[in-house]
C-alpha cells in the first residue's frame, strides 16, 4: 500500500485525537466555571489566607474576560499544569503520574483475567451452540453483567478475604514484603528485584481487585466473540471449508477463530480505557494506590481541581489508548487496512 495513504490516515487519526482532547479540555473548563463559589479560593483550599487567594486569582487570570481565561487554561494544560491539589498540596499532574503505574498494573492484570476467561469460554460455547456449557456460560454472563463493579469487589473481599482468608484484602504488599520501589507497580518492582517472595505476595494482593475489575468486561468479550464466531460458522465460506473435509476442530480453531479474533482484540482495546475509568470504583475498595483511588479521595475531600484534573488525565489516557488500538488494528487486520487506506 502507498506510504502516502498511511501517512494521511495517521495524520487524520492524530488530528481526531487532538480534537477530542480539545473537546475534553473545553468540557472541563465549563465544569470549572460551573463550580459554585470562588474559583481562586477553591484553587488554594479553605484555609488559605486572603493574600494566597489573591495570588491565585492573579495566577489564574480570573480578572480577565472568560475567553482569555479559557486560553490561559489551555496554555496551562499544554504545559501539564492541572492545578494544585488542596489535600496533598502537590501539583495534580505529579500526584497522578506517581500513582499511574499502579493503575496500569491493575488494568493489565484485569485484562489478562478478562481474556483468559472470556475467550476460551466463548470458543467452547460457540462450538456447541445450545449445549450445556453454552447455556450455563450465557447465564453467567447475564448475572456478571448485572453486578455493580464496586459491590462485586466488596463481596469478593468479604468472602475470599475476610471469611475464608484465602487472599489479602487490601494494599499492594504484606508488611515488610515490598521490593524496593522502582516503577511503582508492585509486581514489576518485585520482578526487577528478582525477589520471588515479593512477587508472589504482590500477585496475591492484585488477584481480587483484578478479578473484580475484569468481571463486567469479560461478559462483553464473551458475548461479542461468541456472536461473531456463530456468524462466521454459519457463513458461506465455512461450507466450503467443511466440504473440503476439514475436521470440526480445524474449522473452529483454524478458520472461525482467526476471523473473529481481531474484532475481539479491538473491543479489548477500547475496554482498556474503560477499565482505567472503572478503577475509580475498585482501587479505593482494596485500598490500592492509583488514579481511580486518587479521584475517589479527591471527591471525598472536595478537592475540585484534583477531581477535574483526574477527569482530564483519565480522558487523555483513554483517547491515547484508543488511538493505539486503531493503529494496532491497522497492522493486524487486513480488512480494516483495506477500509481505512482504500486499497
Amino acid at each position: 500500500m502507498a506510504v502516502r495513504s498511511i501517512l494521511r490516515f495517521l495524520l487524520m487519526r492524530l488530528g481526531q485525537t487532538l480534537l477530542t482532547l480539545l473537546g475534553l479540555a473545553s468540557l472541563v473548563f465549563l465544569m470549572i466555571k460551573l463550580l459554585p463559589g470562588d474559583e481562586a479560593q477553591m484553587a488554594v483550599g479553605a484555609e488559605a489566607s486572603p493574600e494566597q487567594i489573591e495570588a491565585a486569582r492573579q495566577r489564574l487570570g480570573l480578572d480577565a474576560p472568560v475567553i482569555v481565561q479559557y486560553l490561559l487554561f489551555l496554555s496551562r494544560l499544554v504545559k501539564g499544569d492541572l492545578g494544585v491539589s488542596t489535600s496533598t498540596f502537590q501539583p495534580v499532574l505529579n500526584d497522578l503520574v506517581a500513582v499511574f503505574p499502579s493503575t496500569l498494573e491493575l488494568v493489565s492484570f484485569a485484562m489478562l483475567v478478562n481474556l483468559a476467561v472470556a475467550v476460551p469460554s466463548a470458543i467452547v460455547a460457540a462450538n456447541k451452540r445450545g449445549g450445556a456449557f453454552d447455556g450455563s456460560s450465557r447465564f453467567m454472563a447475564v448475572i456478571l453483567g448485572g453486578l455493580p463493579v464496586f459491590w462485586l469487589a466488596l463481596m469478593l473481599q468479604y468472602l475470599l478475604g475476610t471469611v475464608w482468608r484465602l487472599l489479602p484484602i487490601s494494599g499492594h504488599n504484606a508488611y515488610g514484603m515490598a521490593a524496593p520501589v522502582t516503577t511503582g507497580a508492585a509486581t514489576l518492582d518485585a520482578l526487577l528485584a528478582l525477589d520471588w517472595a515479593a512477587l508472589g505476595d504482590a500477585l496475591r494482593h492484585i488477584a481480587l481487585p483484578a478479578v473484580a475489575l475484569a468481571a463486567l468486561f469479560s461478559t462483553q468479550i464473551f458475548r461479542a466473540l461468541r456472536a461473531s464466531l456463530l456468524g462466521v460458522l454459519t457463513s458461506d465460506f465455512m461450507m466450503a471449508v467443511r466440504a473440503k473435509g476439514a475436521t470440526a476442530r480445524r474449522v473452529l480453531l483454524r478458520h472461525a477463530v482467526p476471523n473473529s479474533v481481531t474484532a475481539t482484540l479491538a473491543l479489548a482495546g477500547t475496554q482498556f480505557g474503560a477499565m482505567v475509568g472503572s478503577s475509580v470504583l475498585i482501587e479505593s475498595v482494596f485500598a490500592r494506590k492509583g488514579v481511580g483511588a486518587y479521584m475517589f479521595n479527591a471527591v471525598a475531600q472536595k478537592d475540585s481541581f484534583a477531581v477535574l484534573g483526574s477527569v482530564i488525565f483519565i480522558g487523555a489516557v483513554v483517547c491515547i489508548a484508543n488511538l493505539i488500538v486503531d493503529l494496532l488494528q491497522l497492522v493486524v487486520d487486513p480488512r480494516v487496512r483495506a477500509a481505512q487506506l482504500g486499497n
Binding site: 455493580p148 475476610t162 470504583l281 477527569v311 483513554v318
Partner: protein, 282 residues
C-alpha cells in the same frame, strides 16, 4: 400447515418461562416503586442507635444498618430513588439524542457534520468519568448525578438514530411525500422520525440496565445520592465500613441493584428477540 399451527395472536402473547420470570421481577420492582414508601414504617430515616447492626431476624428481615434502621424497608423505599432516577436519565438523554439526530438529519449539511463530530467526541470520552466530574462540579447530589448522566449519555443514541434516519429517508414513501411537496422539516418530524424510533424501543431497557449500575456507582463514589437517602448505591457506600461485621448492610442493597440491572437487561434482550425473531437462540 396453517391448520396445525396455533393462531398467531396467542403465540405472540404466550410467555416463555424466562419472559414470565422477568415480568414477575419487573412487577415486583414496580410495586416497590409504587407503594413501597406508603407501606414502609416511618422509621426508615430515623436513627435508633441501640438497635444498630442487628443481624436478620423476624422483626428485621434483613437486619438493621449502622443507624439501627431496618435494611429491608430501606431497600424497598430506595427502589424509587434508584429506579425512577435511572428511568429519568434514560428518558432525558434519549430526548437529547432524538433532538440531535433529527436536527442533524433535517438541517443543512454543515450542521449535520458539526453535530456528528460532537457526537463522536462524546463517544470517545469515558462517560462515567466525565459524568463524575460534572456531578462533582454541580455539587454532589442525586439531582447532579441525574443531570450529569443525562448530559453525557446521549451520543450513542444520537449516533444510532442518525444512521437509522438515513436509512428511513431512502424509503419510497418518503420520496413519495417529498414529491407531494411536504416540507423538509415536516417530512422529518411526521414521516421519517416516527418510522425510525423502533430502534429506541429496542434499546431503552438495556440502557436502563446500565444506567442503574452507573448511577449506583456515582452514589458509591459520593457524587450521587447523599446519606441518609435510601438510594441503593449510597446504602452500599454507608455499609462498606461494616461489611466484616454486618454483611447484610451491603449484601441487601447490592442484590437489589443487581436484580434490577439484570431484569432490565433481560427485558432488553426479550424485546430485541420479539422485534427480530431471527435473533432467537436455540
Amino acid at each position: 400447515m396453517a391448520v396445525t399451527s396455533r393462531p398467531k395472536a396467542t403465540r405472540a402473547l404466550a410467555l416463555s418461562p424466562l419472559e414470565s420470570f422477568v415480568l414477575v421481577l419487573l412487577l415486583l420492582l414496580g410495586a416497590m416503586v409504587a407503594v413501597g414508601p406508603a407501606l414502609a414504617p416511618d422509621t426508615v430515616y430515623t436513627s435508633d442507635i441501640l438497635n444498630a447492626l442487628q443481624p436478620p431476624s423476624a422483626e428485621h428481615w434483613l437486619g438493621t444498618d449502622d443507624q439501627g434502621r431496618d435494611v429491608f424497608w430501606r431497600v424497598v423505599v430506595g427502589a424509587r430513588a434508584t429506579l425512577l432516577s435511572a428511568l429519568l436519565v434514560v428518558t432525558l438523554y434519549s430526548m437529547i439524542g432524538v433532538a440531535v439526530a433529527t436536527i442533524a438529519a433535517a438541517g443543512p449539511r454543515w450542521l449535520d457534520e458539526t453535530l456528528m463530530r460532537i457526537t463522536d467526541l462524546g463517544m470517545a470520552l469515558p462517560g462515567m468519568i466525565v459524568a463524575l466530574g460534572l456531578a462533582a462540579a454541580l455539587g454532589a447530589s442525586l439531582q447532579s448525578a441525574i443531570i450529569a448522566m443525562s448530559l453525557t449519555g446521549w451520543p450513542i443514541t444520537a449516533r444510532i438514530l442518525r444512521a437509522v434516519i438515513r436509512q428511513t429517508s431512502e424509503a419510497q414513501f418518503v420520496s413519495g411525500a417529498q414529491v407531494l411537496g411536504v416540507s423538509k422539516w415536516r417530512l422529518m418530524t411526521r414521516h421519517v422520525l416516527p418510522n425510525s424510533l423502533d430502534v429506541l424501543i429496542v434499546k431503552w431497557a438495556g440502557d436502563v440496565s446500565t444506567t442503574v449500575l452507573v448511577l449506583a456507582g456515582l452514589s458509591f463514589i459520593g457524587v450521587g445520592a447523599q446519606p441518609p437517602s435510601a438510594e441503593w448505591g449510597a446504602m452500599i457506600a454507608a455499609g462498606r465500613s461494616y461489611v466484616a461485621t454486618a454483611w447484610w448492610t451491603v449484601v441487601a442493597p447490592g442484590v437489589a441493584v443487581a436484580v434490577t440491572s439484570i431484569a432490565f437487561g433481560l427485558l432488553g434482550d426479550i424485546i430485541q428477540v420479539r422485534n427480530d425473531p431471527s435473533l432467537r437462540e436455540v
